[in-house]
Subunit: 445 residues, 2 copies
Amino acid sequence: MKSQNIVSLIRKKRDRGTLTPDEIRYLIQQYSKDAVPDYQMSAFLMAVFLNGLNDDEAAALTREMLHSGTVLDLSDIPGTKVDKHSTGGVGDKTSLILAPIVAACGVPVPMISGRGLGHSGGTLDKLESIPGFNVNLDLKRYVEVLKKHKLVLIGQTEEIAPADKRMYALRDVTATVESIPLIAGSIMSKKLAEGIDALVLDVKFGNGAFMKTREDALRLAQRLVSIGEEFGKRTIGYLTSMEQPLGNMIGNWLEVYESIECLNGGGPEDLLEVTHLLSGTMIWLGGEAGSVEEGIERSKTAVADGSAMQKLRDIVLEQDGSTEFLDRPDDYPPASHSFDVAAASDGYVTAMDAYAIGMAGVELGAGRKSKEDTIDPAAGIILRKKIGDKVQQGETIVRCFTNKEEQADSVRQMLQDAVTIGSSRPEIPALITDTVTRDGAKPWS
Amino acid sequence: MKSQNIVSLIRKKRDRGTLTPDEIRYLIQQYSKDAVPDYQMSAFLMAVFLNGLNDDEAAALTREMLHSGTVLDLSDIPGTKVDKHSTGGVGDKTSLILAPIVAACGVPVPMISGRGLGHSGGTLDKLESIPGFNVNLDLKRYVEVLKKHKLVLIGQTEEIAPADKRMYALRDVTATVESIPLIAGSIMSKKLAEGIDALVLDVKFGNGAFMKTREDALRLAQRLVSIGEEFGKRTIGYLTSMEQPLGNMIGNWLEVYESIECLNGGGPEDLLEVTHLLSGTMIWLGGEAGSVEEGIERSKTAVADGSAMQKLRDIVLEQDGSTEFLDRPDDYPPASHSFDVAAASDGYVTAMDAYAIGMAGVELGAGRKSKEDTIDPAAGIILRKKIGDKVQQGETIVRCFTNKEEQADSVRQMLQDAVTIGSSRPEIPALITDTVTRDGAKPWS
């Protein structure tokens, strides 16, 4: 009878029916109890992949994955707790910069992050390039640290959305990853478990993003916002371009390094633009600014007055890290080898394959090819040129750092192929293209 | 790498790509070796269910399921070996009648049959209602008996298409059964393993059939014929109506009883019409008639001259059965209870729900509700009226036999609901609607 019910649920989705919240609850609860085998779940996931889920179904799925584990209650911490989630890209270190900024502005940021996946880096791996930094706090300590500093930076624990964790692993081996409702449910079940009150989403699109097109990114952003709002959380999504890496540095310590530059008042324009938009929106959602524009101003002030950099120091010390290289970043132990990739001709950088650049970083040691691989914190890439920059033949366009000297030739070729040089100045891709809110209105007047 | 390959195969079908024969071979071979887990296969099966397989893919799938086990070589048995397969219905006992007819006409019939499934009966269960009849011959004995009698009647052994067996079990619990290419592959892999040279298919449609519509049945028949011909086997399919049971008797011994009636020169018209068409086609394919029409004449002669009935006696004796009730069918031990269902009003039988009648038979003990259930050979139903027959209020329309007296009330209600009585004489559904051959031509001029 039980097994029969599960088959009828799979059949219903297979036949493009709409599942009720009770049916979705039954499925996920039984799966969590091992009463639904993986082979039934994978057939269901393929049916969902091909036939979709509507907003109500996606919200119900998120709810059940969320409640498969601990949902943190941060209500005794004063303030509106706001987090940010990015769908992942190359060189995207905004979390490292905006988290201390927003906390310094008085908005609590409970941030549970992930590790690098394929070409895309992960906040946890970057944080761990800071000597001693401990991302493995338990949930009790998570609440304590957040209460003390308005900031905490940890990795996903076993208690957070375990059903999502199992389903994600299953999707990975059954070709059911790239489904917008499943991605949305997976992201939101984890974020909602953090105990947030509001959420800002950075949905990336382009050759270095998970979503290749702006249209797909928009659909995902709309799903994410719809689910967040369904759960009573103010949720705002931005679409940002990943047609080239964000900022100039790729690699774990290199991204911390570039983040420190930003927090010290420097840093590249594109990275600053995205970061301050996201942090400004978080500050506004957190009630510490009257508008997003005012939030952006507060964000910039927190950099200018040093309070954001001080917040990063505080949280690094609280989470057992050393601030030595925060204060003297150039003293960080370098990789054993470095080499340059030079422009093959005169012209302009007209395109960059951010995915290939990310994968080149993986080859250098900055990412994992299999789950067992260890990360080399010093490995990575610095882009000397970006789209629109003029280059001369022989001029360095990319500089690489690695402890795997044997990779140099193949990586040089990958990077040469990843950067297109043309004869005329290209249009630079728009960086921030869309704002997604529940009602479609801009979050500010 | 291996796991990656499987994921990319699933992804390809998910994205409506066409799999190569090598890819399908790899998938099925790895699955047979337990190197592909069920959760990957079920995701693949759902992708196939929703996105289909083309003729080449379906042939490749059939080939790999076929070669997952033993493929019999009957080449040292003289003659063209011909079998028949029906997609299953209610009251369909044609195999019991045509197998001895065709063998009596000199065409070897290597028949591997199945058991009842849900509302639909199975040849093996019917044969086992003959005391002592042994359907569990090994493949060596199978060849010996066929050589001796030009006929053998057994059940599927473990050696026949084991990959299909596993995949079928998986489809049953993942809502991926009703897929025309998967059904076609499953049927044909088993039939081709028998060592046949040619095959006649009886694809049923209507409320008592697996395929509810003539269109679906036609698509299935075309797939089956296409696969058979791809394997170099002459394959002809007929579409026959299952808008009411075939013949008048439903239940295991009752169907043997009605088959004996037919072999003794009696029997109902509809059953005789379908049987002789199928047997006539088999005799023609087996080279013992110059046309299907001549095959039908030879088939009728084999009944009239008693040679078909003698063939049934011979094979029953060879396979350890008793011919006592073949010769005196009315002496068969009856069920403990019988009861009638009467017409509720005057009029005509305008429709019959063959599925419900089949399920009523199961309730009486003629089928299994779970795999562990045993069959009651004496249980079943005799239809006194069929579509088009005039009835008077209170007149018996159905007679039931059971050893489960407690089921009488509910079964009576089921049957009352299953037979529709209207005020005007209905059109009688056409029994044989379509002939399907590779090139679309009738198999005779």
